[in-house]
Amino acid sequence: MNFDLSTPAGLMGALVPDIVLMVGAMVLMLYAAWRPESAAHQRNVGYASLVVIAVTVAAVLWFASRGLTATEGVIAVDGFRWAADVIFLLSAAATIAMGIESNPRDRIMGGESHVLVLFAAAGMMIMAASRDLMILFLGVEMMSIAVYVLAGINRGSIRSAEGALKYFLLGAFSTGFLLYGIALIYGATGTTNIAVVGERIASFALAGHAMLLIGVGLLLIGFAFKVAAVPFHMWAPDAYEGAPTPITAYMAAAVKAAAFAMFLRVWIEAFLLIDGAWFAPVWWVAAATMIVGNVVALAQRNMKRMLAYSSIVHGGYLLVAVAAGTPLGSSAFLFYAVAYTLATFGAFAVVSAVQKPGEHATPIADYDGLWSTRPWLAVGFGVCMLALLGFPIFGGAGFFAKWYVLQAALTSPRGLVPLSVVLVLTSVVSAGYYLHIVRVMFMRPRPEGAAEPATLQPLTRMVLVGSVVMLLVLGLFPGALAGWATSNAAITPPEARNPFPTVPFN
């Protein structure tokens, strides 16, 4: 027992990485506000933020390596948390790296953009850590508010503002549901501590308790909004399109990952026993998300919107892992999150490279014949597309990510074979638009007088090359990542009572 969470000291200790990040962020916020806006200044802030992230990552890794544990309490100290943190922090780093180079082009001179990324990351870390609905609420809001601002950070662009407004209004709206859900659960169980909620559902046999169930339903709605699941997804395409490209990537990858991390923890630790109640809704939401997302993505002519819908779709795939509600499900999530994050950042790196400076639109037509002018850019983008499609070898880890989710679904005690079939069938639909990109880049001629896309700047190139190489390597040797995901899957409090009823394969 390394941390006694009942004591302030213990609590502080268990939160060291988060605190490091927050303190660093606050300091940087002051530094950012201290100097007038300028390209140079925002760059410096950016580099500083990267340093802060590096420090935080170090802290997280150190904690993770020590295999620390804690008493029952408001926050969790387990592998799942650290694993999730690493994902958040790396995407934050990638976002900032891309932002440093793309912000000047979008005439975003405020250094605070990077700092807000840090705050959002802090919120995410809280979400992944929280084992109390109150903390969870704080984390969600901390992340959301920061991201609302980030979505609208490009004050010069009306679209940016519009996207931010929509995101904000609907986000606040959904927060209402989330909060009401928490209230009702509190009312039904008398506690906001997730673990305790779980225990009380078991000990007081609350499975059929109306208030509790309505509460869980409202909670589900809140979560579904955060992961942009159909029909709570409507904000996503607009917000993604409006936001600056790096921020879009951040929202698509990290925000979603964080939401799922919290989703899984709450679901597994608290509500596993009432799966009878939530299985059907989650099943339907997952199916709807996969179907609607894929089908509507077919109709997109704008790269960012297309990727927005694609991220909705992947939310649907991850919901399948949630529906599985097993340790395999959570490890599948970790694996998937890594692969998906890599693919997303790779893709958006290319988008920000091809996007014409100062122009908002990112029509797919801009990618016509990209192969003939910038072969390696096209190849990289192609790899990311195939990864999102879940194609082996060429798509790298993307294939094993999907594979892992299918594993979770097929081994789940809840019989998810039909949902798996929905998953693969909708993946075939997704080939319709992912391959459309490949085809546009490789099989169409480059139109005459088409502008040569700007050469990648070093950081963005690093992001692109890094994610593509990682994808491919992990696609050939997924063993290590799989092991990491499995070992960090167990969302178990100390003095482990295994929350998973071990069910034989049906």
Partner: protein, 733 residues
Amino acid sequence: MQAHPLAETVARLVWFLPLLPLIGFLINGALSLKSAYVAGPADPDGHDGEHANHGEHQDVGGHGGTGHDAHGHDDHAPAVRHKFAAITSIVGPGVMVLSFGLALAIFFAMRGAEMHNPYINTLFSWMPAGSLQLNAALQLDALSMVMVLVITGVGMLIHIFSVGYMQDDPGYPRYFAYLNLFVFFMLLLVLGANYVVTFVGWEGVGLCSYLLIGFWFSEKANADAGKKAFIVNRIGDFGFMVAMFMIFAHVGSLDYVTIAERAGSFAPGGLVVTAICLFLFLGCAGKSAQIPLYTWLPDAMAGPTPVSALIHAATMVTAGVFLVARSSMLFSIAPVASLTVALTGAVTAIFAATIGLKQWDIKKVLAYSTVSQLGYMFVGVGVGAYTAGVFHLITHAFFKALLFLGSGSVIYVMHRAYHATHNHGDDAQDMRNMGGMKQFMPITWTLMWIATLAIAGVPPFSGFFSKDEILAAVFSRAHGSPLADATLLGMPGSTVLYLIWVLALAAALLTAIYMTRMMLYTFHGPNRTGDAAKPHLAEAPWVMTGPLVVLGVLSLAGGWLNLPKVITDLIPVGPTATLEHWLEPVVGAATSRVAGGAAHLSATTEELLIGTAVAIAIAGIAIAWTRLKPAALTTKNAAVPATGIQRVLENKWYVDEAYDATVVKPIYGASKGVLWAGVDVGIIDTMLVNGTAALARFFGWVGSQLQTGRVGTYAWLLVIGAVLVLRAFARAS
């Protein structure tokens, strides 16, 4: 088991028989390719080296040159001999001479040897697949020996004839290559030790006939004819294959010997064996041009005349008859099937004869006569007189080859004349343009008459004996034989047999008539070639006339091969029933099985039958001689279109047209309209495949329309979703 008596004789070289022509094919084929092939540029797409090199082509297939039968070719191409003509002229016929010599040697070896069962020469294991063990093996017995002799012998003569006939053709080596290849396959066909080896030859000869009919392929008509021949044959081959499947499924082997051993396992007259035989006969009908599959043979006359002689008269088309004889062990226990064979043969004989009455193209007349005579052979083998059938096959090979080659030299002469006088308007094959040829080519005239009398069945010419034997067999089987006891189409077997007999006689009458007609119009009466051409008419060179003489002798004396007892009793001119004794080990058992309890005809009855047959033959000739007026004939171009039944006969009862309308066009139309346009493109592709895609895209469009961009809409949807979710949860409570 002890070695076969033939194993130590020359007979073990039997595989040289087919090998020799194959070598000939390879050499000639190589020569013709070498002369024709000019390598193209390294990069076919690159527009370098536009040097035209077509003039250099020796054989560019059927254009120019002296394609006698190819109508309307250009005559201005100088008649230049092929640069490899010399080698080819030696190799082509040479291999045949060697092959024939070997055949004779083996024949005498067999005469000497005391053999009870066929000599099987296994070359190698061909298709070993589980219980199906097919060997590439040759079977030497009386039947195959006879066929080999006919094929190599007649084949040799025709090869020699071709040297003269084709001398100026630019495709000279190619021609001989095909011809040699044909002989190779034909020998394989008759020597095969199991159905599959036979089938290889069977299809191979079909292929060669395809290539040779379309030899002058630049004429669409010729190419069409070739294709038609191959496809119609394939319909027959389908039957052959199914028969093989059934045999293997029920006997477990395809070797003739094994089948003969196990044939007892079939219920005599049973459904299975009957079906097998009928399917086999479908194959025979295709190959031997019987109703309903005869239509390809007349068109096949598009090929060079020697080809018609060899393939479409003497050898290939008789393969069907051979196959029935070869399968006698099966047919003899399937009376219904046998009757069907005989009846089909009889009907074909009379039907083709009627058409032969009104043809003007000399080769067409012969073509239909061939169909008719094949019908005769099938009558023979159908009623179980296998010897008689084979006998007629042999004599027919002699006189029909003679007739074709004779007509060939006539055409050759006519053509030479037209060529010299640059006359392209007139048809060198139309009898209306000939007439009075006897004054120009007396030898041919004499020989042709011999052949005509032979085919008409006038004693003592060969045809008389074979034909008479068949008729006698039909008559004798009509009582007490299993055939007589069987019923076909509700008719008792004996009735059917009498019917067949009558039909056969009628056919004989018509045969006599149209053959005489042909002779009259071609050789007698005034000459209608036109004064310009007349001086150029003269006998063909000896390389062509020589073989005719040999065949003439054979047609004259062929009957001695199998003199009926009744004759030899009257006048002791030669040995009795030689062929019958020779074939006894092969078909003897089957023959007697079919004959069953049929009483042997009394001498008087036989003499009566013979009398009738001869009378009919004479009558036919007389009718033609008296009724037809060659003098009144006008040339083709001046001819008035026939009317009524004559018109129908000239147009061959419109059978081709009927087939086209009822089979070809419907299938083509359905495939194009229904299957391709309808099912493939319409239903599967457009509706299902692209339809699904379109549907998905449509829903996508709908979805993106819901994304109105208005927060209000989004909130509404959110709430609706929320209500649904909460309802689900409320249900659970």
